[in-house]
């Protein structure tokens, strides 16, 4: 039996795959500029996904897409870049694993995410399977990036990748959420980015490294 897709479904799949590709490639990069650019790009594809979903009739998602572009494509990458520059952060990032194994870890993570997404998908009856799996994949990749990478900036980007996965899940399950809550969430994550940038700068000043493995003062 041949499955046929409508043009909007093809667009959604293409955007979802592009989004995931950016998250996946970003997870294996070791240059600060590159991982920030990949994050901005995945956020741009997220905005694209929201626009494609808005085409189904939920016009409020256009506003969400605009919010994503302002906050996640422009503001958050700018905040992280500025903070890194001000603290003269090294462009080379540290990790528990080298680039090739890093992609291997991300690949395994993606596989687990697909399994998790497919297990939960039957319960999410009316939700697009592709979007559910994409959301879980982004969450898992972000989480893995936070666990495997040791430098401050990769952990921040890992966290925001995870948050992008949640944004896809929100759009896929609920469509648009009330503007007040959405604006609140955007501001919250932006303030989170600001705080993390301030702290990462202070940590760099105090420890002279960006390696979180050095944070060992507080033990019992």
């Amino acid at each position: 039996m041949i499955t046929t897709f409508t043009s909007s479904e093809v667009t959604t799949i293409a955007l979802a795959v592009s989004f995931l590709l950016c998250a996946f490639l970003g997870s294996g990069k070791f240059r600060l500029g590159q991982i920030i650019r990949y994050y901005a790009l995945q956020s741009l594809f997220l905005a694209g996904l929201l626009v494609s979903m808005a085409a189904y009739g939920d016009e409020h998602l256009y506003l969400s897409a605009l919010g994503v572009i302002i906050f996640k494509v422009i503001l958050i990458p700018a905040i992280i870049s500025t903070s890194a520059k001000r603290s003269s952060a090294s462009g080379r990032l540290t990790s528990f694993v080298r680039p090739a194994p890093s992609y291997f870890v991300s690949g395994i993570t993606l596989l687990l995410a697909v399994l998790a997404g497919m297990s939960i998908a039957p319960a999410l009856e009316e939700t697009d399977l592709i979007l559910t799996v994409t959301a879980f994949a982004a969450m898992f990749l972000g989480g893995a990036m936070m666990a495997v990478r040791r430098d401050l900036y990769s952990q921040i980007i890992g966290f925001f990748t995870l948050e992008n996965g949640i944004a896809i899940l929100a759009a896929a399950t609920l469509g648009a959420i009330p503007l007040l809550a959405e604006v609140g969430i955007f501001f919250t994550i932006t303030i989170g980015a600001l705080l993390m940038s301030v702290l990462s700068r202070r940590l760099k000043e105090l420890y002279a490294v960006e390696d979180t493995g050095e944070l060992r003062e507080l033990v019992d």
Partner: protein, 505 residues
Amino acid sequence: MPLILVLILAMGAVTAYLPLPERRIRDLGVVAAAVSSALAVYIAWPAFEAVLGTDSFINGPTGIFGPGALWYLDSLAAMMMLLIATISLSSAIISHRYLAHEFREKIVSLTDIRHYYSMVPLFVASMYVAVLSNNVGLLWVAIEATTLSTTLLVAFYRKRSAIEAAWKYVLLCSLGISLGLVGVLLTTYAAGQNGVNSSLLLSTFRDIATAGGVNTELMKWAFVFLFIGIGTKIGFVPMHAWLPDAHSKTPSPVSALLSGILLNVVLVSLLRFRQVADIALMDDGAWTGKFFLVFGCLSIAIPALIMVIQKNYKRLLAYSSIEHMGLMAFAIGLGPAGIIPAVMHMPGHALLKSSLFVGAGEIFLMYKTTDSAPVIDVWKRLPKTALLFLLTLLMLLAVPPSAVFVSEMIMIGFGLRDYLLPTLLVVVSLTVAFVAMTRHIYAMFFNPALTTASAGHMPAEKWNVTHVIMIIQLIAAVALGIFYLTPKGLELMVSIAQSLNSGLL
């Protein structure tokens, strides 16, 4: 009205940056706390009158606080409002003295004081919003705001360890709250799946669940995410790694707020979602209860063991907070009736733990360290603080007639009846914690290394406002314990616990 409350606190935060002398900024901090606390009590009071049967709230919350509204005020929310009002006012009064001392000693600058008095009101406002919010989106934002507003307070002293603690705090808590957001989304979806137009209101979720309109399979997934996510913010073991660091690195009046009240606020938020899950699953909380029971036992046993080897008195108190959150979780896991001792435990723990943290602040001001080893002979150097600290500690360790004693006795009674082995583990762990804490404090207070002769040269400690607050809270905790034993007291606490019932209570 809640918006006015938030506005007052926001104004308090703004005034910290007015071109005023340091003393005036501290004064205004107390004024903002006093006015907001008075308004919070005014807002909350009708819910208590309802329990006494003298108010229109008798049939449940209505109007701007009723189902379908942005805010929801039941007796549990009212109790939390009262606790936030009390502890935040105490903390503001103590901060006035605490920061004056640190400013005089040049430990903190005027800019630091401005930051402090801008962050604390925002933190308190976030807690009020979290307990009053009926909208899950707003609730999520409020919980995350409690983290964001306190991150710089954890990093307040700018030492390596403080920045390290703040980093772990913001990253782990934000991660936890993000997972909680997945749970919120899934809950909302589960409640809207069967064609019912779901809003983001918790009261609507409860109604839909009661009508059998919630997808139970999805609700289980949602609860797992909520429990792990929000549980991280509560500090359940093993998601607790950030808590001892953060709670021990903040200035003591903020530690009092974090340990004394914030953990309870977040637990109540989790219980609101749990209520929806329990109603949907129609199993009297048996499925969700297992999570509370297992994580509760872990959160009692592991901190008790760590307390034995603890070398920092503020971390000791932080681990004790994890243990007490574990106790509440354990009680909740015992079944529908277990919610009663859990709810009874909240005010007692809040009053006593916040007192201990401010007492620890007095010790810190004298010894300039939170490491226990250099802190010797507190009984002679700070006799008033030491006496009050010791009495408060004993009350926290459930010595009668403390409120904590009553709640722990009830939960252990229920536990022995229904879950013998876990309860025995809890009793053993509580004993270990008792020994660990008293041994630790004994070494700090009665270490005879300081000779009587040198002690004679030290200036006598004078009564100060911290002592007054500690006395008031100690008396309140004892009075509460006695009140719990009266029919009216028990009726009130059962009524508050009923706010979280899923049909059985």
